[in-house]
């Protein structure tokens, strides 16, 4: 503060000294005049007169000095007080209140009042500047917080984000982008994107985006091989930043690229296409039988009654097969939509499993697979929807037969474990990898290497899982190792528990 630097300490002393010196000079002058006058009359008259006049001069000088010393003391106290005031928290009123009252008709009053007014103005200016600085501080802090937040948001985004300038040099990349393309932006400025990202379609997309006006976006689906060499599909959107964001003409024209992983969507599309393909294949096969035999009958190729009966029988069997397939699909759709009508009743588990074995027997025979029943000697009563549970047992058995090489064995077991009922289907088939074991109950999933072994829709196991878990509050699990066969185990709550569950669900 400039005010605080003014040194008021020596002011009164200097002023008193000046007054005294002035008094002494005046006394000297008076003495000189007296001496001059003394040359006229005799010395005894002039000498005492000179002394008297000199003393009078000294007295006047002392009086003047005293007069000013007192007033300068008041002014000094006033200015000292003023210098002590903090201009940051003073208003016009508080300045007046904090300063000593000046005597009326005080000769230095107008000068001190001007100083006070200047000080008050100075206070206002200081306070305005302080306020401005505080406001600026807040804005600065807020801006830096926002900037920090933005970087954190950008870094935390699962979607890879890149920003490039008009020369396709990389300006910014978040962690996901660094990971996807396997580079580190830190410490290196201005890098050609084409050298960092080996994907011509992405580079072309950016070139095209740069040629467009600001604010427009281009989107493309691009296959990118990630850092571990796995091909992934991304939906890539490149947007030219608005001109306002870069403010000046000389600022670089930036384009921001956001990548969204659509691999799972692509996989779902592929699974759906495969599903439709396998469903149509499954449907066409019995339909082919029906059409062929109808034509043979229509053409009169079957000349005797026995052949005609045989053909009609085949048509009937193929129609049944088609119907089963359609029912499988409908059941799955119904269960998934929660629209299945469940008719639970008490029945014998062993009888149900034997019926399933009988149905699958012809298929097993064709592949010379031994179908073994190791059912519990106890009468196990279960409270289930018989049709749905039969479907589950058939699906598990026919699945085992399908993926067991000729001459293998499929075993059906049932048992009571504590209060729970279990039945399992064990085969000597091709087995499943750990990954397959996890995905085998996904709808439409088919083990790729085994898909040539047998036709299927990828619906049987998901349907069985739904029936056991959702409809009967049980559990269907699989244990398997490649080449060592698989065991599918169905666990159902005991009859008492099941009845309770049912009663609760019907209340």
């Amino acid at each position: 503060m400039a005010m605080a630097n003014i040194d008021f300490t020596n002011l009164p002393r200097r002023m008193a000294l000046t007054a005294t010196v002035a008094g002494l000079i005046a006394a000297g002058l008076v003495c000189a005049v007296a001496w001059a006058m003394a040359s006229v009359p005799s010395w005894w008259v002039s000498a005492p007169l000179a002394v008297l006049v000199g003393m009078a001069g000294v007295g006047i000088a002392l009086a003047i000095s005293l007069f000013w010393h007192q007033r300068i003391g008041i002014a000094d106290a006033y200015l000292r007080r003023l210098a002590q005031l903090d201009p940051r928290d003073m208003t016009e009123e508080t300045v007046s209140a904090n300063l000593p009252q000046l005597p009326t008709e005080f000769p230095l009053g107008p000068a001190l009042e001007r100083i006070q007014a200047a000080f008050t103005r100075f206070c206002t200016q200081i306070q305005d500047a302080e306020q401005g600085r505080a406001l600026l501080d807040i804005r600065c802090r807020r801006a830096s917080q926002q900037s920090e937040q933005m970087s954190q948001i950008l870094a935390g985004l699962a979607e890879p984000v890149l920003v490039v300038d008009q020369y396709n040099d990389l300006v910014l990349a978040n962690r996901s982008a660094e990971k996807l393309f396997g580079f580190q932006v830190e410490g290196v400025e201005h890098r050609a994107l084409a050298k960092l990202v080996k994907n011509q379609r992405l580079i072309d997309l950016l070139k095209e985006t740069h040629s467009r006006s600001t604010g427009t976006a281009r989107t493309d689906e691009i296959e990118i091989v990630d850092d571990v060499g796995r091909p992934c599909w991304y939906s890539v959107t490149a947007t030219m930043l608005m001109a306002g964001a870069t403010s000046t003409d000389t600022a670089p024209h930036l384009a921001v690229v956001v990548l969204r992983d659509i691999s799972s969507q692509k996989a779902a599309q592929r699974r759906n296409a495969e599903f439709v393909s396998s469903v149509t294949h499954e449907m066409k096969t019995p339909l082919a039988g029906i059409k062929a035999y109808v034509e043979l009958l229509a053409d009169g190729d079957a000349e005797d009654e026995a052949t005609r009966d045989e053909f009609l029988d085949v048509i009937n069997t193929q129609a049944d097969r088609l119907q089963r397939l359609i029912e499988n699909m409908l059941n799955l759709a119904r269960i998934e939509a929660g629209a299945v009508r469940v008719n639970k009743a008490h029945c014998s588990l062993n009888e149900l499993l034997e019926e399933a074995l009988d149905i699958v027997q012809p298929a097993a025979q064709r592949k010379s697979i031994e179908l073994v029943a190791e059912l519990s000697p106890m009468h196990i009563r279960v409270f289930v929807d018989r049709d749905l549970m039969l479907q589950t047992a058939i699906n598990l058995l026919s699945n085992a037969v399908k993926y067991t090489p000729d001459g293998g064995r499929v075993t059906m077991r049932s048992r009571l474990v504590d209060d729970q009922v279990e039945f399992e289907v064990q085969d000597t088939g091709v087995g499943l990898s750990e990954d397959d074991c996890e995905r085998i109950f996904d709808k439409f999933y088919r083990v790729e290497k085994d898909s040539q072994m047998a036709s299927g829709t990828g619906l049987g196991l998901p349907l069985a899982k739904h029936i056991v878990s959702d409809v009967h509050q049980g559990n269907l699990s699989v244990t398997s190792r490649p080449g060592e066969g698989s065991t599918f185990v169905v666990t159902l709550p005991g009859t008492k528990q099941m009845t309770k569950v049912f009663e609760r669900s019907t209340v």
Binding site: A273, V276, K284, A288, L296, Q452
Partner: protein, 143 residues
């Protein structure tokens, strides 16, 4: 001496229907339940024509075609392929890659199959007799 045909399909009903029609037309028909059995039958005695399904256990129809074309003794064996495959196969592809003369789509007409076989064995340029099979099988799903 009747001409010998080998029918290769894992679906018994299909095999029986085709065998019935073709035998009545005077051909000597041998049947095989999968690609492997088919290949063994071919090696035992080379037929005059092979009719094979595409999707079969042990050895698929395409693998069987590869085996046939890879063996000097059977390289020029005429092949007709029966298939219920959807969009994965086109006639142009199997014709070019496996030398399959005709792709017959299931469901098929035994009458038209017989016509195609007659045409192939007479050495005619097989006319698009088998309805759907003459067209390229388009994807059955909207992409």
């Amino acid at each position: 001496m009747p001409l010998r045909l080998l029918l290769c399909d894992d679906d018994l009903a299909i095999v029986r229907a085709a065998e019935f029609k073709l035998s009545r037309a005077g051909y000597e028909v041998e049947c095989a339940g999968d690609g492997q059995a088919g290949w063994e039958a071919i090696q035992r005695q080379r037929p005059d024509l092979l009719v094979t399904d595409c999707q079969m256990p042990r050895m698929t129809g395409l693998q069987l075609c590869e085996a046939v074309r890879g063996d000097a003794a059977t390289r020029d064996l005429p092949i007709i392929m029966l298939t219920a495959k959807g969009y994965e196969l086109t006639e142009a592809e199997v014709r070019q890659r496996y030398g399959v003369l005709k792709l017959v789509a299931k469901p098929f007409s035994p009458r038209e199959l017989l016509k195609s076989i007659d045409a192939v064995l007479r050495g005619d340029n097989p006319a698009p007799a088998c309805g759907e099979s003459a067209q390229t099988i388009e994807p059955s799903v909207a992409s």
